[in-house]
């Protein structure tokens, strides 16, 4: 518990985002009305997912240069937790879209892009389970991960910006920052994002530590 300060920080930031996210001032906009507050909870899911996938690809590259099995474990657990945040992001987005865009899954490039990216990362987990031999599995999945990461960025963050999208900041839609004259929404969104990123990393380290215990246990048994 010596190095727990960042875990506590994550919890405090999220507490702040829950309280200020509901009680704080928001711009009055047509159609979205109070649901604009979903920005504080839906968007950080994607920030957390992106951070975890980034950690994963860093550790995959690290594995390829060191061949340390623990790096491979960090990479796979980052993807595991990242996918959970991705699913939360998709579900919260569908719920929100149903009430503001009138359809849980409008044919929006950002939605379709993130769906394909999710399938790509699920394929990463399937690929791992299909390979028996430990070193081969770690190496092949690390290479796969290095390719999947840039494709995920293109699908989710670059392509939607080049075409028409219902999401802000694309196809002539303005980002929410334009309505947000005093920065009051940023004062909640950024702490909330950092909080969820920290909680995501915390969950990843918990899963990684369990995995490492298992790994050492089986190594000792054999």
């Amino acid at each position: 518990m010596k190095h727990a300060w960042w875990k506590l920080l994550g919890i405090l930031l999220l507490l702040y985002s829950i309280i200020m996210g509901i009680l704080g001032p928001v711009p009055a906009l047509p159609i979205v009305h109070e649901t604009i507050r979903n920005v504080y909870f839906h968007v950080p899911m994607w920030f957390a997912m992106f951070t975890l996938y980034s950690i994963s690809v860093i550790y995959s590259i690290k594995y390829l240069s060191t061949s340390n099995p623990q790096d491979d474990l960090v990479a796979v657990e980052s993807v595991n937790v990242g996918i959970v945040f991705c699913i939360f992001g998709l579900l919260s987005g569908m719920l929100w879209a149903n009430f503001t865009w009138g359809d849980p899954w409008p044919n929006d490039p950002k939605l379709n892009g993130s769906a394909i990216a999710t399938l790509m990362y699920l394929a990463y987990l399937v690929l791992r389970n299909a390979l028996e031999e430990e070193q081969k599995r770690a190496k092949i999945s690390a290479v796969y991960n290095v390719f999947a990461f840039p494709i995920m960025i293109v699908l989710m963050y670059i392509l939607p910006k080049t075409t028409d999208s219902l999401h802000p900041g694309a196809g002539g839609n303005s980002g929410f920052g334009q309505f947000d004259l005093d920065g009051s929404m940023k004062a909640v969104l950024y702490p909330a994002s950092l909080g969820w990123i920290l909680i995501g990393i915390w969950l990843m380290t918990l899963r990684y530590r369990i995995r490492r215990l298992e790994y050492k246990h089986y190594a000792a048994v054999e």
């Binding site: 518990m1 309280i19 928001v26 009305h33 109070e34 915390w202 918990l206 369990i210 246990h217």
Partner: protein, 65 residues
């Protein structure tokens, strides 16, 4: 032309002032109850996470011996 511009301005003005926000729930003060419930739930989850973390640390210490 002027009529069109006037119409545009009117529609803009309407969409900007006629937005209904949930002022009722806020003015009655009951929204704080929701916030309190969320805080309690979230704090409970946070404590739970910390206990899992502690338990893991204990197991790791055991394994070292």
């Amino acid at each position: 032309m002027l009529l069109v511009i006037n119409g545009l301005i009117c529609s803009f003005a309407q969409s900007n002032t006629g937005v209904e926000m949930a002022t009722g729930l806020r003015s009655s003060g009951k929204i704080y109850v929701v916030v309190a419930v969320l805080v309690v739930l979230f704090l409970g989850l946070a404590v739970y996470l910390f206990t899992i973390d502690r338990k893991l640390s204990r197991l790791e210490k055991q394994q070292k011996h």
